[in-house]
C-alpha cells in the first residue's frame, strides 16, 4: 500500500509543479498589447451613463471624453477608433474589473489619489479632466452656499467613491451632523435626490452638471459655488505592463498636444508637410515615435484623424451638450488653464 502511495504522491507533485510553471510562464508572457491585437478590440471600462464623459445612446453608441480616450488607444493600436468593447461599471466594481483583467483600460471619471495609485495594483496614466466635488440642492430651498447647511441634512451619493470620504471631511470639519445615503448606481442616487429622499446630492461638479440634465426638471436645481476637493480624473491601467501604460498615457497626451499645436481631425493630413518639427512628430512625419511601443509611425496621426484633439473632444461631448460650456481649468496652459502635457519627442 505504501508503495502505491509513494507513486501517487510523486505524480501529484509533478502535476502541481507543471501547473505552477505554466501559470508563471503565462503571467510573464502576458502583454496587454499582444492580447488586444489578437482579440481585435480594446476592452474599456466606462461609467453606467454619465453624459459628457461616457454615455450610450439608444442604439448603444458610446460618446464622451472618457470614451474618446479608449477610442484613441484603439485608433493607435488597432487602426480603428471603433474597435472598442465598452463595459459599463459601477463605482464599486471598477477597480476589481481592471485588476482581475476583465478590462484593460478604466476610463471612468476616476479620481487619481495616492492610495489608489500605490495600494491597489493600479497605475494612473494622466488627467483628462480637472474636477472638484460640489453640492446640488433644490432652488426652492433657498440655499445658495454650503455655509447654510444645518445639522440633520441628508446627502445622497455613490458608494466606493472619493466623494464619500470628502463629504465626511467636509461635514466633520464644519461640525455638521448629516445622514449619508449611499447608492451603488448613479441613476439610483439621482432618483433618490429627485424624489426628495435627500436634501443635497454631492459628487464631482462635472457629474452634477451632467446628471442635472437627466432630472425631471433641471431648472429646479442648482449647483452650489463651493468646491470642496481636488478631483483630477483620468484613465487607469493595471500595474505591471509598462508598455501598455505608456501607450495609453501618450494616446491621451497626443490629443492634448495636438490641440496645443492646432492640429485637428480635418487638417491632420496637411500638417505632415508643416515646417514645425514638433507638429511633424505628432502626425508621424518625423522621428520614430511609435517604435518604442511596438507600433507603426502613424499611430498618433490616426488618433487625431479618427478621434480629434482634446479641444474637439471637449467641444463635441461637454460644451455643445450644454453640460459645462466653460472649460475652466480644463483649458490649455497657453490659454489660462492647467492642461500641460510633456512633449512628444
Amino acid at each position: 500500500m505504501f508503495k502505491h502511495l509513494k507513486q501517487l504522491t510523486s505524480l501529484v507533485a509533478m502535476v502541481a509543479v507543471v501547473f505552477a510553471f505554466t501559470t508563471e510562464a503565462m503571467a510573464k508572457k502576458s502583454k496587454t498589447l499582444k492580447n488586444t491585437q489578437k482579440k481585435g478590440f480594446v476592452r474599456c471600462g466606462v461609467s453606467q451613463g454619465l453624459p459628457g464623459f461616457s454615455n450610450a445612446d439608444a442604439s448603444g453608441n458610446w460618446t464622451g471624453i472618457d470614451v474618446d480616450v479608449c477610442r484613441a488607444v484603439a485608433a493607435a493600436v488597432l487602426g480603428d477608433a471603433n474597435k472598442v468593447k465598452f463595459t459599463p461599471l459601477s463605482a464599486k466594481e471598477r477597480f476589481t474589473a481592471l485588476t482581475s483583467g476583465e478590462i484593460d483600460i478604466l476610463s471612468r471619471n476616476t479620481t487619481w489619489t495616492l492610495s489608489r495609485d500605490a495600494d491597489i495594483g493600479l497605475t494612473f496614466v494622466g488627467v483628462n479632466f480637472y474636477d472638484g466635488q460640489g453640492f446640488m440642492v433644490r432652488k426652492s430651498s433657498g440655499i445658495t452656499s454650503t455655509g447654510q447647511f444645518k445639522n440633520g441634512i441628508s446627502a445622497c451619493t455613490n458608494i466606493g467613491t472619493t466623494t464619500e470620504l470628502n463629504m465626511r471631511d467636509f461635514f466633520n470639519s464644519r461640525g455638521i451632523s448629516y445622514e449619508p445615503v449611499a447608492f451603488e448606481k448613479a441613476d439610483e442616487v439621482v432618483a433618490a435626490y429627485d424624489a426628495g429622499r435627500c436634501d443635497t446630492y454631492t459628487t464631482d461638479k462635472s457629474g452634477l452638471a451632467a446628471q442635472r440634465t437627466k432630472m425631471k426638471n433641471p431648472d429646479e436645481h442648482i449647483v452650489l459655488p463651493e468646491t470642496i476637493s481636488k478631483e483630477p480624473l483620468g484613465p487607469v491601467v493595471r500595474q505591471g505592463d509598462a508598455v501598455w501604460e505608456d501607450i495609453v498615457r501618450w494616446s491621451l497626451n497626443t490629443m492634448i498636444e495636438a490641440e496645443e499645436y492646432g492640429i485637428t481631425s480635418s487638417n491632420a493630413d496637411m500638417m505632415k508637410t508643416s515646417d514645425n518639427p514638433q507638429i511633424k512628430r505628432l502626425v508621424g512625419a518625423e522621428g520614430e515615435m511609435g517604435a518604442a511601443f511596438g507600433l507603426d509611425n502613424e499611430w498618433n496621426l490616426r488618433i487625431i484623424k479618427q478621434v480629434g484633439n482634446y479641444g474637439e473632444s471637449y467641444k463635441r461631448n461637454i460644451a455643445d451638450t450644454g453640460i459645462l460650456p466653460d472649460r475652466g481649468p480644463n483649458q490649455l496652459w497657453t490659454k489660462g488653464g492647467i492642461l500641460y502635457v510633456p512633449p512628444a519627442r
Binding site: 502576458s30 430651498s141 458608494i159 466606493g160 429622499r197 436634501d199 500595474q239
Partner: protein
C-alpha cells in the same frame, strides 16, 4: 489487503484532486497578485475607515477602524435578519393556519397571498417597496401624524423615543415576574399531574407581568418620558424631524419585503405540518373531551412542530442570506458597507470577500445549530 487498497484508492484520489484544485487556485491567485503588485494581508482592518454610515446600532464614526466598521455593518445585517425572522414567523403561522380555515374567504385570501408573494422575485419586491411604495410618501413637512405621535415620511419613519429613569429597577421587576411565571408553570404542571386540577396559568401570568412592573412605577421611582419627533426647518423648503427615533426607509423596505416574501414559505411549512398529523389524532383528542383550542395546543401542535421546524430553518437561513440584497437599496449592511465601500477604499478584494463569505457561513451555521437544538428538544423521545 488488495481489497482494502481498492476501497481506499478512489477516496485518496478524490482528496488529492480537491487539494490539487485548491492549490492551483491559490498559486494562481498568488502569482497574479504578485504580478500586479497587490499584497495580501489583513493589516488594513486596523486602518481608519474614514467613511460614514447612514444607520448604525452602535456608535460609529469615520475615525474608527475598518474592523469596527465591519462589526457595525454586521450588526445591521443581523438586525434585518432578526426583524425579518420575527415578522415572517408571526405572519407565516397566521397565514398557514388561515389556509386551513373552514371559512371560504379566509382560506382563499390566504392562498392568494401565498401564491402572489412567493412567485414574484424578491429583488423586485424590495424595489417595489423602496422605489414605488416608500418613495410615494410625503415630505416631512407634509406628513400627517400616525397614531398622533409618529410620522411616516419619505425620509423615514419617525417614532418617539423613551427616556427612562431607574430603568434597571423596572428591568429587574420584569425579570422577577418572568422567573415567577416559570415557577408557577412548573408548579401548575405538578398539580395537574398529581390531582388533575388545572390552574388558570395564563391569567396569573398576565397579571404578574403587568402588576409587578407597574408597581415599580409607583414605588420604585421609575419614570418614563417620551421624546417626540419635532419638525425642524433646514432651509426654506427642506425639513426633517428631530428627536425621537428615526427608522430609515431603506430598513423598512427591506424588512417588509423579506418578511412578506419568506412568510409565504413559512406558511406552507406550517400548513404541511398541520396537515401531516392524521385526522385520527384530532378525533381521538375530541373523544376524550378536549376542546378545539386544547386539541391544537396539546395534541396537534407538538406533533406538527416536528414536521415544521426543519424546513422552516431553511427559510430562516434563506432570509438571512437574502438580506444581502440590502446593497440594492442603500441599506448599510455587511455587503454594502464592507464588501462595497471598504473593498473599494482598500482594494483588498480577496481578503474582504473571504471575510464576508466566512461571516455569512458562520451566521447561517449558527442559526442552523440553534434550530437543530430546538428540533432535538421537541423530537419524540424514545423511552
Amino acid at each position: 489487503m488488495n481489497n482494502k487498497i481498492k476501497r481506499y484508492i478512489p477516496q485518496i484520489l478524490t482528496i488529492l484532486f480537491v487539494f490539487l484544485i485548491f492549490g492551483f487556485f491559490t498559486i494562481n491567485a498568488q502569482v497574479n497578485m504578485d504580478n500586479r503588485g497587490i499584497d495580501f494581508g489583513f493589516g488594513f482592518l486596523k486602518q481608519e475607515a474614514s467613511f460614514d454610515m447612514q444607520f448604525t446600532l452602535l456608535d460609529y464614526d469615520g475615525q474608527d477602524s475598518y474592523m469596527w466598521a465591519y462589526v457595525v455593518a454586521l450588526l445591521n445585517t443581523l438586525l434585518v435578519s432578526f426583524l425579518g425572522i420575527i415578522f415572517c414567523t408571526i405572519l407565516g403561522v397566521i397565514i398557514g393556519v388561515a389556509r386551513l380555515s373552514g371559512n371560504f374567504l379566509i382560506r382563499n385570501s390566504a392562498a392568494w397571498y401565498v401564491e402572489f408573494f412567493r412567485n414574484i422575485p424578491l429583488l423586485l419586491q424590495i424595489f417595489f417597496w423602496y422605489y414605488a411604495a416608500l418613495r410615494a410618501l410625503p415630505l416631512p413637512e407634509k406628513a400627517e401624524p400616525w397614531f398622533g405621535v409618529t410620522y411616516m415620511t419619505i425620509k423615514g419613519y419617525y417614532i418617539p423615543s423613551m427616556i427612562w429613569e431607574n430603568l434597571n429597577v423596572f428591568l429587574s421587576c420584569l425579570l422577577a415576574s418572568i422567573i415567577s411565571i416559570i415557577f408557577i408553570k412548573i408548579y401548575a404542571k405538578k398539580i395537574q399531574e398529581k390531582e388533575g386540577k388545572q390552574l388558570p396559568v395564563l391569567y396569573i401570568s398576565l397579571g404578574l407581568i403587568t402588576i409587578l412592573p407597574l408597581l415599580s412605577f409607583l414605588f420604585g421611582g421609575v419614570t418614563l418620558d417620551f421624546e417626540l419627533p419635532v419638525l425642524k426647518q433646514l432651509a426654506k423648503t427642506s425639513f426633517i424631524f428631530e428627536g425621537g427615533i428615526s427608522l430609515p426607509p431603506e430598513l423598512i423596505a427591506l424588512v417588509l419585503a423579506l418578511s412578506l416574501y419568506t412568510s409565504t414559505f413559512v406558511a406552507e411549512c406550517v400548513r404541511a405540518g398541520i396537515q401531516g398529523i392524521s385526522k385520527g389524532q384530532k378525533e381521538a383528542a375530541a373523544s376524550v373531551g378536549l376542546n378545539p383550542n386544547q386539541i391544537l395546543k396539546l395534541v396537534i401542535m407538538p406533533q406538527a412542530l416536528r414536521i415544521i421546524i426543519p424546513p422552516t430553518t431553511n427559510q430562516y437561513l434563506n432570509l438571512t442570506k437574502n438580506s444581502s440584497l440590502a446593497a440594492a437599496i442603500a441599506y448599510p449592511d455587511l455587503v454594502l458597507v464592507f464588501a462595497g465601500t471598504a473593498l473599494m477604499q482598500t482594494g483588498k478584494a480577496i481578503e474582504i470577500v473571504g471575510i464576508t463569505m466566512l461571516t455569512y457561513l458562520t451566521i447561517s451555521l449558527s442559526i442552523a445549530a440553534l434550530m437543530n437544538w430546538y428540533n432535538k428538544r421537541i423530537e419524540i423521545k424514545e423511552k
